[in-house]
Amino acid sequence: MPNMKEVILSIKENHPLTSDVYRLVLTGKHIDTMHPGQFVNLKIPGCYLRRPISICDMNKNQLTLIYKVVGKGTDKLSKLRGEINVLTNLGNGYNLAHAKKHNLLIGGGVGIPPLYFLAKELKKQKKDVTVILGFNKKNELFYVDEFKKLGVKVIVTTLDGSVGVKGLVTDAMKKLRYDYVYACGPIPMLKAVYTLAKVGEYSLEERMGCGFGACMGCTIKTEEGAKRVCKDGPVFLGKEIIW
């Protein structure tokens, strides 16, 4: 896999998809090809630490990221125009070789974006893909049509039932047939999913110092010992994670 690289990219688009979820499209030459589940680390002027964002889509010379405004850093990011300093090729992504006949992708809220890139790549490999997209309520929906355009089966769940299946992503899982799972979202959701599925790969989130394995800031305990979410993850096998 190519090394981490520092690049200056142009902000082609930085617009809201919902009230607080934004799409950031970056362009520039020499963007290395990355894999679904990997992330980049953004230098936001006025913030000391970079902000890690997983890749939502990847085309030649173009990178698409989706992020949620949760604090001062992401708020500054949402107002950023012009150029941005980016560390690319970070982390280990999902392992597409693990895909089986029926693959179930499960995303919750802002955990959904990396699954778009994954679904796209799995379709290229002619794999059967079903996606469950979990939201709280209707006005928080994003990227549902984009997933549909990929030709994958899309199931939407909302906590309040305002759209699709009422309840949690796990409520939608029960009725489905699948041999493998790729998931990304809040820890409680991932835990519930793994408890049901007992298989698959899960992308974890943790506060990071560097994002490339130097500071040990994001280390977690796993069945295989201490692992850095940024360097050894962010994607881990369900059985590795201590739930």
């Binding site: 981490m4 230098k43 000391y48 943790e206 506060r207 110092g209 040990m216 800031g217 280390t219």
Partner: protein, 303 residues
């Protein structure tokens, strides 16, 4: 052609730039980005007698122009470092490296130092008596002159390598502690370690760091670090390594004018993995701009 060479405890460095312990791992991640032999040397991840997982996460929080960390000395333990990390390091780093050592008892410091005596790759031993993120030991040794002297004397007794004691800024009188370490036989001093800080998550109404407090470092602490380096360098005769918020060649020169013989680069490596490399490449330009022919000539040059 400018001269960037400095001498640190008998060993000549091609330049005074030293990535700081805890921000550079064992060099591996950075060796993929640039030739680490360009560095003066680097101080590897703080190592203890036994393996340590460190503190629970979150271990990192944004400061204001700085970073708060509460990693808590995660490391594989000295035996693993000697067995695995040092041989790996040998492949990409040909210079003497600085071994950073932490402990929770005098015996622990002593045992680790004894093991390091047998490592030809190790040029200096940096004794961390100032980690603010571990309970018992760590900073407890660094905030009391008697304890600091005791650790220093004990490791000096067994060490075959120059001993550099890393001081805590979380004290009323850092000069008193610096002098105590010098008197106890320290070959050099490095400062400052991180400053104890905190941030609170307004939504959760709880500390961002699981450890509640963490060590604050980065640009923000530079003026405090510079002041302490100036105070200590004027009070002791042994070499002082300056660190704390250094992120540019100008900062390196400011630290050396304050009295630093060499300069460690910490947090800057985390937000820009090429930081130490860029600083070294930029030094000659900045030196000529300030009419500096040889760096060693400006050490303590601030009148």
């Amino acid at each position: 052609m400018v001269d960037t060479k400095v001498k640190l405890c008998g060993i000549t460095l091609t330049n005074p730039v030293i990535p700081a312990s805890g921000t550079f791992g064992y060099g591996e991640e950075f060796a993929k980005l640039y030739d680490l032999n360009l560095l003066g040397t680097f101080s590897f991840k703080g190592t203890t007698l036994k393996p340590r997982f460190g503190n629970l996460s979150p271990r990192i929080a944004e400061g204001k122009n700085g970073i708060l960390n509460a990693v808590g000395l995660q490391n594989p333990g000295i035996d693993q470092v000697i067995k695995v990390e040092l041989p790996k390091m040998k492949k990409f780093f040909k210079k003497p490296v600085m071994a950073n050592v932490s402990g929770f008892s005098i015996d622990e410091y002593v045992s680790v130092v004894k093991k390091l005596n047998k490592c030809p790759q190790v040029g200096w031993i940096e004794i961390n008596i100032s980690c603010p993120n571990v309970h018992g030991g760590g900073m407890a040794f660094g905030t009391d002159a008697k304890n600091a002297a005791l650790v220093t004397k004990s490791v000096k007794k067994v060490s075959k390598k120059p001993i550099i004691v890393k001081l805590s800024p979380n004290v009323t009188n850092i000069v008193e502690i610096a002098k105590a370490c010098e008197k106890a036989g320290a070959d050099g001093l490095s400062l400052i370690n991180t400053i104890l800080g905190m941030r609170i998550d307004l939504k959760k109404r709880s500390p961002i760091l699981k450890n509640t407090f963490g060590g604050y470092s980065g640009d923000a602490v530079f003026p405090i670090a510079l002041r302490m380096v100036y105070q200590v360098a004027h009070a002791v005769k042994i070499p002082v390594i300056g660190m704390g918020g250094v992120s540019s060649a100008e900062d390196v020169i400011e630290m050396m004018l304050a009295g630093a013989t060499a300069v460690e680069i910490g947090s800057a490596n985390l937000v820009d993995p090429y930081a130490s490399y860029k600083i070294i490449k930029d030094l000659p330009r900045v030196m000529s701009h300030y009419k500096i022919k040889a760096l060693k000539e400006i050490i303590g040059g601030c009148k």
